[in-house]
Symmetry: C2
């Protein structure tokens, strides 16, 4: 009922929809456009979101960070240099670690930047040569409002009810800078009519205390997804604990689903190409948690994983 896909909208994944009663009641599988149609256009641009809408995604993802003046913008990293020309436009504005943090720039400054395909800043190269070529055409970083208006407008003109899939990025980082990102995100969603659990939006976060806070302190009724990552030396979050039955039970107390890595589900590939699965999907389903794994890319999947 609720195994779901998080993908870059590579065409083969859309085949999943063939067996799916699209737009009629509960979907057994959904396609979430990861940063928009980011396999084909620079991630998190309005053009990439428009393309994702046209390609048949059920939900379109927004990563959200705040600008210096507190505006929610759609950007994957808390810094700007991996997808924009910030180093060229504001060369003096890097911090000591040579990164240009979005939280150090007002929205009007961020709007001066051109977005390009994600590059490996150390190597000064595009991540994937098959993708949209670097530094072509003109794209901007959208605000969360601009993106919601795009999707709601397309929903109106096409008649397709496509949802939002919003990630609250690095709440502790924002808190250190005196900003309550979850409150800003939930307020923006509320301003655009997203207030109830049945509304077409999921809100996700890697930080379990923040996901829980959205439910218990900020009292949102929206569907929440607990993202599950990997152990990071800079973080106290214990994701290994989270995927045990006891951890999932805790999550089920405040969230509607989990967003594990696909590697949390596919543990290995057998000689005959069939995947060896963990029990995570079953364990989560027993607790009525939806499972929305990230990230399915046809150019990165192990052979035959698409069939499992």
């Amino acid at each position: 009922m609720d195994k779901t896909r998080f993908c870059n909208l590579y065409p083969i994944l859309l085949l999943l929809l063939i067996h799916t009663p699209v737009f009629s009641g509960q979907l057994s599988k959904i396609v979430i456009a990861h940063r928009g149609a980011s396999g084909y256009l620079p991630e998190h641009t309005l053009a990439a979101k428009a393309l994702a809408h046209g390609m048949g995604a059920h939900y379109i993802e927004q990563d959200v960070v705040l600008s210096k003046d507190g505006q929610p913008i759609v950007l994957h990293d808390i810094y700007l240099q991996a997808v924009t020309n910030v180093a060229e436009i504001f060369p003096e504005r890097a911090r000591i670690d040579n990164k240009y943090y979005a939280i150090d720039f007002d929205l009007a400054e961020i709007k001066q930047l051109k977005v390009t395909g994600r590059s490996d800043v150390e190597k000064d190269s595009i991540v994937d040569a098959k993708r949209f070529p670097p530094h072509q055409s003109t794209f901007q970083i959208p605000t969360l409002s601009e993106e919601i208006e795009l999707i709601q407008g397309l929903n109106h003109s096409t008649g397709k009810p496509i949802g939002l899939y919003v990630e609250v990025k690095e709440p502790a980082w924002h808190q250190q800078h005196g900003k309550d990102i979850s409150r800003v995100v939930l307020k923006t969603l509320s301003d655009y009519g997203y207030t109830k659990s049945e509304d077409l939006v999921y809100v996700q976060c890697f930080d379990p205390s923040e996901t829980r806070r959205m439910r218990e302190v900020l009292k949102t009724d929206l569907k929440l997804v607990q993202l599950i990552g990997y152990k990071n030396p800079n973080s106290a979050i214990d994701y290994e604990q989270m995927i045990l039955s006891s951890g999932l039970k805790l999550i089920a107390g405040y969230a509607d689903g989990i967003g594990p890595s696909i590697q949390h589900i596919v543990k290995n590939i057998q000689q005959d190409g069939q995947p060896i699965l963990s029990s995570l999907v079953q364990d989560a389903h027993k607790l009525n948690l939806k499972v929305h794994p990230y990230t399915l890319r046809t150019d990165r999947l192990p052979p035959r994983v698409i069939n499992f």
Copy 2:
């Protein structure tokens, strides 16, 4: 072999493709996205072009006018007020007729404007309530270069060879202002690799002397389409003459096809719903002229015309 469709990419028209050997040699019918996917997003925005690419158009249309500093921009009218907030941003810059002409603004000024759905300026209303709502999200007027880079980039990332369909707008108007728009358009196309008749671009113009000039004086080898409109009291162009056999013969001397109105082809609808056709398509085909009629909108077609 060459009856073709000019459309707003309403879904039903894409059904035409089912019988078509898409992307393999000559297409018997093609879909040209009229101002992009302009049924769903504000016309001539990069998002509308990205969506058109994703929806399966074979060609994507660009109307081109020049800015004061001679930059080719993608805009349907020679003025700005029907699709932008120019009256709000530059209230003092209208001419005596209360219109804000693109040719009076430098590109940097034009880039400050927000594009919205086409409105009826007299009535201050959106043309079609089913379309993308007015004044939502943020869109800019693209340059021709930005649009070509978008389409070429998408061709690269998707592997689909989608073409350009460029209209040179109002060459006499540009000439009055000391600008040779055809030369600028052909130079821009050449800069992006479009120089030969087999390249994936059509260039169209309503002014027959200009279409002819592109072939005979500017010596382009690109495919040319003579657009055919209706008698206009401000113009000496005789379109009635043009659709006679003698007129078509003249066109066949310099162009590869004609772009008549759909009303030039469908003269009436019979009681049983079948269309009564003029001989224009047959007459043009006898001269090896392609026929690319404008504009097919599912919300404006007479009943059953789609079947003819």
